[in-house]
Symmetry: C2
Subunit: 314 residues, 2 copies
C-alpha cells in the first residue's frame, strides 16, 4: 500500500488518488481504514525509535510485521493492468476492487510463483476468521450476518490456500470483501475448489501465474424472448448472489511467453465428472459481462497459447 | 475538461488521474478520446498563434469554443463530493460516472443557478443528435442500435433543458452515456419530465441547485419469500433497463442554508394525478441501493429542510 508501483507510473498515480478518493466516506465518518493508517505511518508518523541516526543501524527486525517496513507488492501483482479503480483494497498478497452496489468484489488479482507456494509451517489457517472490512462504509460493507442462514457459503475469491506465506496474508483472504455467496456443496467445495487446485498446480510449475477472479451477473432468455439479469440478494445488506464466477489465469511458462485460460462457471451444483476444461470461454465474453478488461497490458504477441490452443504465427 | 478545479485539490488529482486510468483501454486501442486531446492541448500543444508575447495582447476571442480556453466547471459542479470515481466524464456542464457493466451511468451531477437557466436564443435543441461517447471502450459503449426497437426511450439523466447556455453543453447531454432506457409514455415524457420541470423551477428561484440523478436496480420479494434483483437488458450491448431512477436536489435557498429532496421513482407508467411529493424517500435508501453517498460533503448543520420538513434544533 505504502509504495507505488514503479513500472506503471500513470496507473500508479490514478491508484494513489483513488485510494484517497474512494475512502473519503470512511474518513468522513471518522472510521479508521487500516491501510490509510499504514500509509500515514509510511510517510509521516514513523515512530521515534525507528528514526535512523546516520551511521548507526536502527533496531528494525527483518520479520517486523508492521506494514510500513515491507513495501506493497501491488506493482508486481498488477503487472498486466488494472481492470478498474473502484474502491481498491491492496492487501498484503492480493489486490481487490469492491463493488459497493452488490456488496461483493468486482475482481480480485493474485500473483503466484513456485516460491510463494511454499508452505510456511507457522501459518495456521484455523486461526483465520471471516470478518468484515471495516474500511468499507457501513452502508456498503457485507457482514457475517448477511451470510448467516442464507444457504450460501462465504466463498473465497482469492483462495486462502494461495496465500500461506505469512499469517497476515492468509488472514486477509478472510475479509468479507473477498467473499461472494457461493453454492456450497457441488460448487464452492467441489468444482470451484478443483479449479483453484488446478491453478495452484500451475503456480508450482511455472515462472509466474497471474489470476483474476470475480463474480458475474449474466442475463438469461425468458419465455417472452427477452434477456433478463436476475439474481438473489441475501441478508440485511442485500449482498448479491452472483449467477456465475470467472477465473482467468495468465501463465508465464517461459520468459515472456504466456498462456491464457479463461473459465466461466455457473454458481450452481456442477456434476463431479464435468472436466474444468468444459468451462473455458473466450476472454472477451467475460470482459463484456464484467464491464472491465483483464490483463490488457500483456503484449498480445507474447500470448502463445489461449485456452489450451497454440496460436499460429500472425 | 482541460483544467483542473482549484477548489477541490485532492478530488481534482483523483479525477485527473482517473480520467487517464479509465481511458487507458481507449488509448491502448488507439482510439482518440476527445477530452484527452483537449487535455494535451491545454498543457503542451498550444497552437503557435496563441502564444502571448509579453506586453502584447494575444488575439483570443472571448467566445472561443476551444475547450482549453475555458476552465472546467467540475470544481463548482462537484462542490459537495464525488459519489465515486469510476469512469468519469466531465462534460462542459455536468459530470458523469459511467458503469461499464450496465452500459449506462452510475450517476450524473449538475449545478444550476438562475443565471445558467437563461435561454441562449442561438442554442438549438433540434440540432442535437443522440450519439455514442467514443471515449468509452467499444465493449462497454451503448449505441443507438441498442435502443432501436427496444420499446424504451433514450431517457436523459442530465436533461437537455438544463443546459442551454451553449450549443456544446446541450449537445453533450445527448451522449448515450447520459441516457438510460426509460419507459416513454407515462414516465419519461410525463412524471419524470414533471420532476425535471420542478427542479428547473427551483433553479430559477434559488442561489444554487445541485442535482444528482441516476438509475437503480432495486430488489423485489418473490413468491419464495426471497429478494431478487431483476432487470431487462436490451440490444447487442445488453444495456440494462433500470427498475427505478433517483433524483436528489440540494438547494441553497439562503447563503449556507440548504434543503434536500430525494426522489425515487419506478421506471414504469405513473398515473398523471400522482404528485411527485409521493416519491420522496430518505436519502440513505437511495444511497444503500446505489452503492455510493450523495452530497456527503455538505455540512449537516447547514441542511435545514429535508424532503419538505423543517428540521428542529439539535
Amino acid at each position: 500500500m505504502a509504495s507505488l508501483p514503479r513500472a506503471a507510473a500513470t496507473a500508479a498515480i490514478a491508484v494513489g488518488s483513488y485510494i484517497i478518493g474512494a475512502n473519503y466516506p470512511s474518513l468522513h465518518e471518522n472510521l479508521a481504514p487500516s491501510f490509510l493508517k499504514s500509509a500515514k505511518m509510511a510517510t509521516a508518523v514513523v515512530p521515534a525509535d525507528r528514526h535512523q541516526i546516520v551511521g548507526v543501524e536502527a533496531p528494525v527486525k527483518p520479520t517486523d510485521p508492521e506494514p510500513w517496513t515491507s513495501p506493497s507488492r501491488a506493482g508486481q501483482i498488477m503487472r498486466f493492468g488494472w481492470p478498474g479503480f473502484d474502491n481498491l483494497r491492496t492487501y498484503e498478497d492480493f489486490v481487490l476492487s469492491y463493488d459497493r452496489r452488490t456488496k461483493t468484489a468486482h475482481w480480485v488479482i493474485e500473483h503466484l510463483t513456485p516460491d510463494r507456494m511454499t508452505y510456511d509451517p507457522s501459518v495456521d489457517r484455523s486461526k483465520c476468521a471471516f470478518r468484515p472490512d471495516e474500511s468499507i462504509h457501513e452502508y456498503f460493507r457485507s457482514t457475517n450476518e448477511d451470510y448467516f442462514r442464507s444457504g450460501y457459503d462465504r466463498g473465497h475469491l482469492a483462495p486462502a490456500g494461495n496465500h500461506r506465506k505469512t499469517q497476515n496474508a492468509i488472514d486477509q483472504t478472510f475479509y468479507l470483501t473477498n467473499m461472494s455467496p457461493q453454492v456450497g456443496k457441488g460448487f464452492n467445495r467441489d468444482k470451484w475448489n478443483d479449479l483453484e487446485k488446478h491453478v495452484r498446480k500451475l503456480a508450482r510449475k511455472n515462472i509466474n501465474v497471474y489470476i483474476c477472479t470475480g463474480p458475474l451477473y449474466i442475463p438469461k432468455k425468458e419465455a417472452d424472448n427477452n434477456l433478463y439479469v436476475k439474481y438473489k440478494v441475501i441478508g440485511p445488506r442485500q449482498v448479491a448472489v452472483p449467477t456465475h464466477f470467472f477465473k482467468v489465469a495468465l501463465v508465464e511458462y517461459e520468459k515472456d511467453k504466456y498462456s491464457l485460460d479463461s473459465y466461466l462457471l455457473p454458481n450452481a451444483v456442477i456434476p463431479d465428472e464435468t472436466p474444468i476444461s468444459q468451462f473455458l470461454v473466450p476472454l472477451d465474453e467475460i470482459e463484456r459481462a464484467a464491464g472491465f478488461l483483464i490483463f490488457d497490458k500483456v503484449p498480445k504477441s507474447q500470448i502463445k497459447i489461449i485456452n489450451g490452443k497454440k496460436l499460429g504465427f500472425w
